[in-house]
Symmetry: C2
Subunit: 462 residues, 2 copies
Amino acid sequence: MKRFNYIFLSVFQIITLFNILTAQTVSNFNNYEKTADQFVRSALVERKGYNLLKELCKIGPRLSGFENSLKAINWAKEKMESLGFDKVWLQPVMVPHWVRGNIEEAKIVNSKRFDKRLNIADLGGSVGTPKFGITAEVIELKNFNELDSLKDKVKGKIVFFSRPLDAGLLNTFAGYGGAVDQRLFGPARAARYGAVAVLIRSITTKFDDVPHTGVTIYADSIKKIPAASLGYKDADFLSNALKEDPSLKVNLKMNCKTLPDAKSFNVIGELTGSKNPNEIIAIGGHLDSWDKGVGANDDGTGIMQSLEVLDLFKRFAIKPQKTIRCIFYINEENGTRGGIAYEKYADTAKEIQLAAIEADAGSGSPRGFSFTSDSTIISKVKVWLPILKRTGIDWIRKGGSGEDVGQIKNAKALIGYVPDEQRYFDYHHSDNDQFNIIHPREFELGSAAIATLVYLIDREGL
Amino acid sequence: MKRFNYIFLSVFQIITLFNILTAQTVSNFNNYEKTADQFVRSALVERKGYNLLKELCKIGPRLSGFENSLKAINWAKEKMESLGFDKVWLQPVMVPHWVRGNIEEAKIVNSKRFDKRLNIADLGGSVGTPKFGITAEVIELKNFNELDSLKDKVKGKIVFFSRPLDAGLLNTFAGYGGAVDQRLFGPARAARYGAVAVLIRSITTKFDDVPHTGVTIYADSIKKIPAASLGYKDADFLSNALKEDPSLKVNLKMNCKTLPDAKSFNVIGELTGSKNPNEIIAIGGHLDSWDKGVGANDDGTGIMQSLEVLDLFKRFAIKPQKTIRCIFYINEENGTRGGIAYEKYADTAKEIQLAAIEADAGSGSPRGFSFTSDSTIISKVKVWLPILKRTGIDWIRKGGSGEDVGQIKNAKALIGYVPDEQRYFDYHHSDNDQFNIIHPREFELGSAAIATLVYLIDREGL
């Protein structure tokens, strides 16, 4: 009883009391309402961002360093120019250049009971196998504690990390966060004990057989071993097969490799502020994607919404007082080099980084905005909720922002746009991430919601 | 400026201040949190309601009066019994029995430029055409004002009401509400001026060519004329064709008809309260569907979530103090006879109708609960928000409840479960409403959210 009163009164109601006492006001409430409604209507009816996303997706996947990613960069730059942004430029960034290759195979061998190909996807950054592959027994493990305690049984084997994303949590990102250590660090950890390769169960909420890729991080001091993910159903299959026939082997063939770093770019466009051009409100997502699917949801959505935010200002001839900048970061997926490059720019530019918003949580309906900032800023933005609610936003919270804007050190507020994320990991890093899984209304409300927040920050400051 | 302060301080903050001053408490906050989390986990991991929905959908569409609806009624009764509910019974209801027939055709004739079949769906309750159909010129109108002012041009023609759902509104139900008069009253209104038939543009957010049906309401005193909806694209086609060739005709053939009322049933099951069995918390949706698609979203979802609410109590051996009743209303779609029958029962039963919750807004992620009740009840329930948020619920608001529970006059609170509704009218009353459009996590969170609200009402009262 006590605890409840404490939480409820202290955090929520005291903030409200604070607002009452300081009597924050919004000076042009009616105009703001009207603008929010205009943004919503125009986004939903014209579907301009959605149609641009369709164009972008036709280019194909946009993995850093690939030809396609450069095509998308040029397409984006031309698009920003044709939309009439005040400034458009490319910021050079050197990016990793990992190539999947054309051989990506796994099969169960050496078993009288099982003879099956397994659906796999090389993990991003993985080394390949020798030409005829690696054939070894498989040891299934759930976590690194188990790995450490069974380290003597790992040598010469393929380690199969099979712990699924915890589907019992409301928040799918929390479920993902609880399982992704297997992908990120599993190969390096297993190699330390002499494993010859690693398989992981795909980290997904969709129980089909489409493997989900994503980056793995090797340790420099330890041998790099090949690593791939298994489709969810094939992970179940392998797990059951191992119970019946522990001596089965898996043959793994992969010819992925890492080439020298390649030249690439962040794409940046802006509407220059009419009053305070050196105060920057940045909104962005990442242009690169994995090479599975076409990155419609991750993160074609975020960059096309960001583009549409600026275009919504243009559509209604709203002159921003501050500079509104949209940034398509390159290489979020396997290096964050674009985010780091922009951070270096922001560190030294004679600009005030007022707010940096990231849209990289998919194309679901708007739910909220998550703020990494001083709590007085959060209190101020909460006063805008009646306006933001008109775009589908239900809450403003303290919390994380995003991988790219998280690099920026000198911003007053780092902000993450949070759409509904129940479907996000159905598609994430896999062939499921196609344009046809984007719902036009849910996508477009994201553009309108972010545009409204940007507009309010532009007019009211932070 | 004034207005904003007034709204924000008076409605929201004053309620909060009121809560502070009256120091409402929730006596078992930790237990409630734990129970909410258990409901979420069990629903998401076991997917029991989702799997039951799959079974239900295999029976096929469940239009009132049809054999299939009786099959579904028996299936539901047996399911409630096998789940071990304390009481299960069928409440008899006489329902309309309208039959679509096997001829449902429209084509453009009498035009040198256009020769095309149009995709149509008879409106529910429509009369059929003569055997060789009705062939007539078409007059396109946007609304009843236009109809009234052009009434002299309507005689002998097919009236085509073509005003689309307003896609520019955030709330799709508001868009639907602004267009559905054409379907509900268009045929009766047009018949008054001598029209021979009515076509309407499907009221939908999906711009494909699947026609969406739904009930039309004739006036007793005016001739009943055949009425059907056109797929969205064919509505565009006809509209454009009429601009180029205003003298084209449409031939319409339909052999739908209305048979005498048929015997049917509400299906009701309950867990009897251990302390206050005469206090009823009812949760339900409608068992009937249209005969297009299989009614997975409308409203197989609502009834299977309601079933799962009771089953979640059973799963965790939670004995309710009050009686928790789940009601599968029959005939919401074309008569609300089930809702009316239950209301008559509730009027005279020696029971206190504490809360009647309706789940009939689809299978999207949980957003909120909408209350038709005294505002003190809403204030009380808002105090539970930190618990409800663990199931994805972001708000409690004053507002409507649902077509079926809306019949009940003596309930302390009528409550509507509000999931995200951006996709709802993509599927509504059409062949698009299939089991495969249901997202398992979004569906299951609905079960957990409603179960948590029911649990809190059971423990804390209203």
